[in-house]
Amino acid sequence: MWQPQYEMMPRPELARLQLERLRHQVKHAYSKVPFYRAKFQEAGITPDDIKSLEDVVRLPFTSKSDFRDNYPFGLMAGPLSEVVRVHASSGTTGKPIIAPYSAGDIDTWANLIARNLVSAGVHKGDVIQNVYSYGLFTGGLGYHYGAEKLGATVIPASVGNTKRQLMLIQDLGTTVLTSTPSYALVLAETAQEMGIDLIASQLRVAILGAEPWTEKMRLEIEAKVGISAIDNYGLTELIGPGVSCECQYKQGMHIWEDHFLPEIVDPASGQPLPYGKQGELVLTTLTKEALPVIRFRTHDLVTLHPEKCACGRTFVRMSKVCGRTDDMLIIRGVNVFPTQIESALLSVEGVAPHYQIIVDREHHLDRIEIQVEVSEAVFSDEVRGLEEMEDRVRAEINSVLGISARIKLVEPRSIARTEGKARHVIDRREL
């Protein structure tokens, strides 16, 4: 364990630490962020009202739209001069979620990622090929700093250029892979095509995340690459990766509870649900400096298990995300809302608001097809005219979401309507 004094803390002691940190964090948000002060006042609550951990339910929720409405730095606690780095999420309606980090936050984050790595069975002496994308996305630099904190050797490969990735794995003796699960499969299959035996390579462990994946995919990756595949979870709004990670027993992801306070609530009523019940995960940061976040509604449906794990960690384990309470899709790691696609479509002249989004996984990579009904206003007797329209739609989707979609023109009324409303999303991926 990277920080056994915390990771194995007896739960009563942990609860005391959490309360102390919660009170401090709430005070920090209240005094430094006008948004939180206004919300607390509206709810008739002050930081002094937080006397026990249970009192957290009296605090108002924070949502993704609060981040958008306060873009870019409205939720930040303190001046930008205290911020040493800014990350951003991908694919929100034009404006991304902005996540500022203080020097202290970067250090906390590196420790949490180091916990992830050690929990997955990685140690100093390992060679980590970090295939998460470097840049605004939290995955690349997050894992980079955590791996350096651990003292492992980092290869900052970033994503893409599959053949070069395979060359590095072989030539540099990579032992650990950090990537999305779908890209791990792409690596495995490209290796197969090129006649490279990854099972004979030095690879032992892969820490995979940033998109939903199944147990079936885990078994496939483990068999094809000859590794142990570990799941981890995080959100840009909270910190990025480093919120929770599986240990080698793979019985759920341990939430680093000394830094994040988890709750499960009924998605409809917002009322708390007990351990073992599936509901929406709500997270409160306990130690963030630049961006304290109070009761963030993740919209992820999970179950929490508090029973002590065989690894010795006392932190609760969360199940894989079983679904979303909203219609958000994660496509190749990019968060996409159907409404964004709709507004992109409607901004193209002549496109009718009848569309259907079909998400599929082909050769382990997500593929998105958008079917658009052709109205007589745009119908042309020339193929070129219709293909130009497809191109315009494709370009618009790409500029708004940053993903390329296949556009398929279909006949009017051919998209199934239920009770007059079209079913906008068909997700054929087995998640």
Partner: protein, 133 residues
């Protein structure tokens, strides 16, 4: 001669042509000329029919998306080089681009009839008229 064409958007699915042709047959509409432009996902069926207005009504009732536009129809001698010399060359000389053209299914003996769409329909008509005279 100016002639009306009915273009129909047809999704690339088995049986879709049956759906399209059935109402035309039922309304006793004769298809005089036909061409299909296709992409991977859809086809555009272009028709010259005996009664365009009736065809539009029948196809709309069947739920099809369509468009009516004017083309030129032109008789060419049914001999080697006939199309080249009487239509294609004169238009090229006049600097007019042919968007597409296709032929009638039946014609009087010794003649073939083509329908064409050009970048400049008036210009094309004038260019072909000049040649006739």
């Amino acid at each position: 001669m100016r002639i009306k064409q009915v273009s129909v958007f047809v999704g690339n699915e088995t049986g879709r042509l049956v759906d399209m042709l059935t109402p035309l047959a039922r309304s006793k509409i004769d298809i005089l000329a036909l061409s299909v432009a296709d992409s991977a996902d859809f086809g555009i069926v272009r028709l010259v029919v005996s009664d365009p207005e009736k065809a539009v009504r029948a196809l709309h009732e069947a739920g099809f998306t369509l468009r009516v536009n004017e083309l030129l129809s032109y008789q060419v001698p049914d001999v080697p080089g006939g199309l080249l010399r009487t239509v294609v060359e004169p238009l090229a000389r006049a600097g007019i681009n042919l968007e597409y053209f296709y032929a009638f299914i039946q014609s009087e003996a010794g003649k073939a009839t083509v329908v064409l769409k050009a970048s400049d329909l008036d210009g094309a008509e004038a260019a072909l008229k000049r040649l006739q005279h």
